[in-house]
Structures are given as C-alpha cells and as structure tokens.
Symmetry: C2
Subunit: 430 residues, 2 copies
Amino acid sequence: MNIALVGCGTVGSGVVRILQTSTESIRQRTGRSIQLRHVVVQNPGKPRNVDLSGIAVSDDIQSVLSDPQIQVVIHVVGGISPAREDVIRLLNSGKDVITANKALLYAHGEELFALAGKLNRTICFEAAVAGGIPIISAVNTALTANRIISIEAILNGTSNFILTRMLDLRQTYDDVLKEAQTRGYAEADPMMDVDGTDAAQKLSILTWLAWGTWVRLEDIVRQGIQQIELLDLLVAQELGYRVKLLAISHLANGRLEVSVQPTLVRSGRAVAMTNGADNIVSIEGDAVGLVRISGAGAGQMPTASAVIADLIDYATGRAAITFQSILRQQAMPPVSLQPQEELSRRYYLRFTVADRPHVLADIADILGRHEISISSVRQDETEDIDDESGVARLVIMTHRTTEGRLRNADTEIAALSSIRGDRIRMPIAD
Amino acid sequence: MNIALVGCGTVGSGVVRILQTSTESIRQRTGRSIQLRHVVVQNPGKPRNVDLSGIAVSDDIQSVLSDPQIQVVIHVVGGISPAREDVIRLLNSGKDVITANKALLYAHGEELFALAGKLNRTICFEAAVAGGIPIISAVNTALTANRIISIEAILNGTSNFILTRMLDLRQTYDDVLKEAQTRGYAEADPMMDVDGTDAAQKLSILTWLAWGTWVRLEDIVRQGIQQIELLDLLVAQELGYRVKLLAISHLANGRLEVSVQPTLVRSGRAVAMTNGADNIVSIEGDAVGLVRISGAGAGQMPTASAVIADLIDYATGRAAITFQSILRQQAMPPVSLQPQEELSRRYYLRFTVADRPHVLADIADILGRHEISISSVRQDETEDIDDESGVARLVIMTHRTTEGRLRNADTEIAALSSIRGDRIRMPIAD
C-alpha cells in the first residue's frame, strides 16, 4: 500500500519515525507492507531530523494528486487554508485522508464529511481530538451500544498545565504562562488555548459524533482561564475543589447543554486529578455508566501514535467501515440545543472590590433582585492588597441558578463604582 | 442478520434489553437489522424479567447449531464446561462467537483462537475483560502503533470495593465482605475474586494480546487481599499510599514481569483514586505514553454494553478484520517471562508478633542475612492488643529487593516463635 504525507513538522516527523521503526509490527497488524512514497512540505530543502531518503520530497501537493498509486494521504498541516482546499482536492482525486486538524474539522467537517460520503471516500481523524487518547474510536466503536448522556472533558493541555502549575508552585497566571512558553507547552500566541476556543472546537467534534449536532462556537457558553488568579485556585482547594477548564456536553430534558468554562470539580474525582498537560474524557452512556479515558492530549509521539492507529485501521479496511457507519448514524435527527441562558448550575463568583463599606450589600442586592440565592460568602482579611488603593477579593458561592440570570446580574454589578478589575464566574460540577 | 443467545442470566438479559430498546440505533450503526431468533437456557420454563416472546427458547444448543441462518452466537454462560464444548461446536458449525467468559479464554483461549483461525471464524471478547471498559478494543485497534511497555490495572471490582470500603468505614475485611455479599457485589464464594485468580485470568488475556505470551496462573506472582487488615490500609495512607489489588505486566530488560498483588500506590495517581467496584487499566506505549481507561468493570448493563459493541462490530464486518489481525500479530515471537524470584521492588512488610524483647532484632537479622535492606520500621503503641496475649504489629518498609530474597527470608521468619498469624508482603508502586 502506497501512502503520502503532507506536512512534516512536529507530528509529521513523528509519523515518519513510527513508520520506520515499526515497519514489521505494522505489517503484522495489517497484513500489508506500507510504503511512504511522497512527502509534501513548504520547504523541501530544509534539513529534517528524520530520514527521508528514498522518498519523493516536494513542495507541491500535485505530485500526490497525480500519483494513481497513492490510496491514502496523511495530512498533518494546521490551519484552515490551504488545508481545506488540500483535503477537497485529495478526496476529489480519489484519495482517502487521515487528518489531525481539529480546527479544520470544526470549521468544515460538515462539508468535508459530506463530500467524502458522496465520493465514497474515507476520512480518519482519531488524532484531531485529544491526541493519543483513543476517544474517537471509543465513541465510534466501543460505546456504540449506548445512548450517550454526557461528555465531560479536559481537552486543552496548555490550560491544564497552567492551572496545575499555578496551584503547585503558588505562581501567577502570567509567570506560569511564560514558563509554559519557554518549555514549549504553550504557543507564542496562546489565545486559542487559554480562551477555550481549542477545547470548544474539539468538544464540537465529539458532540457531533455523539449526538449528530454540529455546535458552533457562538452556541457554546465559553470562558477562558486568563482571568483566573491563584486566589481562586486556593479558595476552591480549601472548599474541596480543583479548578479545571472543563468542556461539557450533556443531555438535559432532551436538549444539549454545551459549555467550556473553568469549573470547580470535587477534588476526589478523576477529572480533578488530571494534572499537567494531560487530557481526560469522561463519557456517560445509558448502559455502560461512566467510562473515563485519559492520557497525553497532544505532543509529537502521542499524536503520531493516533495517526498511525488510523493508518493501520485504514490498511485493514476497518476505517472505511467505521466511516460509513458514522455517516449512516448522522442521518438520524440531531439533538437540539438548550439556549445558553437556561444552563442551570451552582456558581463560584469572585469580585475584586474597593475595600469600603456597603460593597457586599450592593452586590448581594443585585443578586437578590435577579433571584440568585447565595449559599456562602467569604472575604478574608488579606495581605494581598494592591499598593495604590485598598482592594479586597470577595467570593460568593450561589445555589443553583441560570446562566441568564447571572449574565443579567453581572451587567449591573460591573457598573458598580466599587468594582475593580475582572469578575470571575465558574460553575461547580460536583 | 440472525443471531442466537446462549445463557440468559444477568448479562444475557441485559443483552436482550439493549437489543430491544436500541433496535433503531443499532440498525443505523450497522446498516442491518438484527433478529434474535434463539435463546438457549438451562430452564426454558423459568419466568424471566425480559420479554422473550417471538423468540425460540430452548434448553438445547442443537437448535442453534442446526439453524443455518444463525451467523453469530452470543455465548454468555460462565464456567469452563460446557462453555468450552459449546464454543467448539459453534465454531465447527460455522458460527462466529461473542463471549464474555474470561475463565474460558484464560484456560482454553489458545485452543479456541487457533480453532477459529483454522475455520476462518471470528471470536469477539471485549466483555471478557473489565466489563464495560473498552480495553480489548484499545489494545487491538487504538494503540496498535505502539510497542506496549506496561499494563497496570485494577481488574477485580469485588476486591476494590472491599479495600475501598474498609478504609472509608474503618471496618474489618470480614465485615465489609459480608456487606458486599448482601449487596450482591461479592459472590457467596468470593475466593476467585479476593485471592487474585479472577484478576490474574484477565491479566493473562491482556498480556497475550499485548505481547503474544500466554501466562499461566502458576507463573504469576499472586497474592490475595484476604489477610489485609485495616491497620495496613491506615499505615499505607499515612505514608501517602493507597492499597490496591494491582495486576501488572511489564517489560523489564526484554522480559515480562507479571504479578497480581495488593500493592501500595502513591495516593495522587489515577490507579490509587479508582474506588469502589470500578476497574482501571493503565497502559504505557512507547509512542503514546500512558493511557488510562476506567469505568465499571462488571455488572449487568456495562457488560451487556460491551457484548453489544462486539455485536455491532461484528455486524459491520470490523470484528472479523480485527480477529484476523490479532491472529496475524500472534505469529510474532512471544516475549519470555522473568522468573518470579527476580521481580525487584520495594516492599511493605507487616508482621503480627509477640510483644516481647528481641522480636525486631530477630526479624531484622533474618532480613539482613538475606541482603534485604530496611528503609523504615514502625511499631506503634497500640490499644489494638488481643485480650489473651500481648501482640503487636510491626511494619517494615524495605529498599528495593527481589521476590526471591523475600520468600527465603519469609520462610525463616515464619519459623520464629514470636510470629503470630499472617505475614503481609506488599510491593510498592510509586
């Protein structure tokens, strides 16, 4: 079987390495020998830390499109363009595609899967969500006997690394982010990771697989971790919780509630104990109950491991069957979304306020008028007071209330003259 | 597609229930409609809590064997006989088989898989190990790009329930076992669960899949939890560990070390946090790193969920491909076993001793002569002293040493006149 690789960066060179070191075990698994014939990269002259001798290296995907012997193409290039155009051209040329590009599938999955279905081609995408964790395969094959009730997951390793490290080292968000960038755990521009976009895109793909609904970013209650302070993590810990950037889709009264938010999770739970750059996906099925899968959600070799698993699945013929099954299942009516305002949870609220009289009364009054019931309040004497002006941090835990009420209350609270800086709102998942 | 069910006990009736409630989603997944034509049970007249109307119920498997329209048979009967004879007859009659019987696969898997291979038939067995946790599928498909380095697992829910409950409620082994039996978590005769046999059988199947080696019970360093006292759990907890009945296979210098023992696991680790009747399997692959999968390892619906996942896999044609791939992969040379005596770990040792002079010196002397180095000793003043005679509990933590040295030392220690009752030996997995 002849294959091509488009993109030979971090993941691509990991793929080449496994192909070269595991030739014999791949042959045993698949019963076929696999030949990497083409590598397409932007700069063919650039020295690589993998051996590409004997492979045609080019900067033009046309070399792949016009080679009739290529059946399947591993496409590991990030971004939307030209990835989308590449995949469309590959499918139209009769090639099957293995991709690790979650942003592409989020933005154009519907179009690409439909095109592949029409052309009777296959798209494999295990590596697109949660790297080495076999979550796509779990949803598509192992848990097929179940009606999925909920997905609760840590899908962004950078955010999880930052939150873990802040608490472990008692450091600020900015200090840890700098360390993460130095160590290569965070991009130079980490916005998509820390604002929840990356996790939301992955959650959208999982939600589509589980319930047939393509959820758009704007339909997801989404908050990032940029405003989280060490104080929030410490208070949460004292109350018996860990703060995690949790991606949740779950069925409530026949509708889907979808959110990506820093969330207080009970300390003993597996999700709370998932630390560092690890990811975890916890799926509840009506028959199986809770199944949790965790591991490295990103990184060269874990992602390459998922790509090669797809390749082996493809070479045996399983992948084509699974893809047809996905397309058939998507013909079922999709589940509709719960409006964001109606999501109902308990909340942790934290305000930075001027340390002067009547501040708490003002905030409590606004919450009360919006029918948000307070379960506990905490404002410690603190040495952590800014130099220029006395500010204090006020933490309020609420009883169950709706996202809509909180948003309305927050607009009023933001307008109070005593409010300084960010207002933090985190749901509580017991 | 026409199918038959042999056995309609707990798991079997769960299978019938999913078949009846998920007819439409199974049809979407597989593109076929599945018809349950035969149910074979010991007592066809017995009232069932599932609706078998329209299905031929019989006490003779011959009705299945002689029906040429039956392609695949779900065989959910425990024990070795007549299960082995049934499966052989089914395969010989051209039927494929889905089984949940780990004891059967442990004892006769080699024979049955070879027979199926020869006859070009398929055996599916996701439900045989760890119930609803898709671990067979993970090893056979999702992690295929990896050379497996280690498997570390909690594979027996009954033992894990007992150990969790003892610590949570500060109760004795006997009290918790009685509760577990009352609540149906433990069998009337729980020996196979608590002595490690059940976990060892499941570990043997996983070890075969990962490394092609069929490990026999007698080749596994195996200890049960029956002698564990609450004191052991409390001391371990104070030292920062949880005690888990851990099933481990791992490669060390090209050889497999295989053991099932109560083990001290660092408190923060996912394995240590797996409580109650849950199972967890943690697999280390050379590319993917650690992947952990946890969930309900037994129970009616989780096990039925795994059986139906196999059925869906079978109906789509994936299962046959996977089974051929397993057989091909097993043609690779198996990995040889490390002799039990050479397993090298740190250990927790606990002795119940007469509370009189020179006891510690005697034990320390024996350990020293066997070159077992002590890292810490602990003998608390305790109120937990038997009425008739003063006994004390002595806990010794060792530096890294071998199973062989410990066994030799233990023989000598057992002969000391100061030793009372059980001697506990638990490895430490950091």
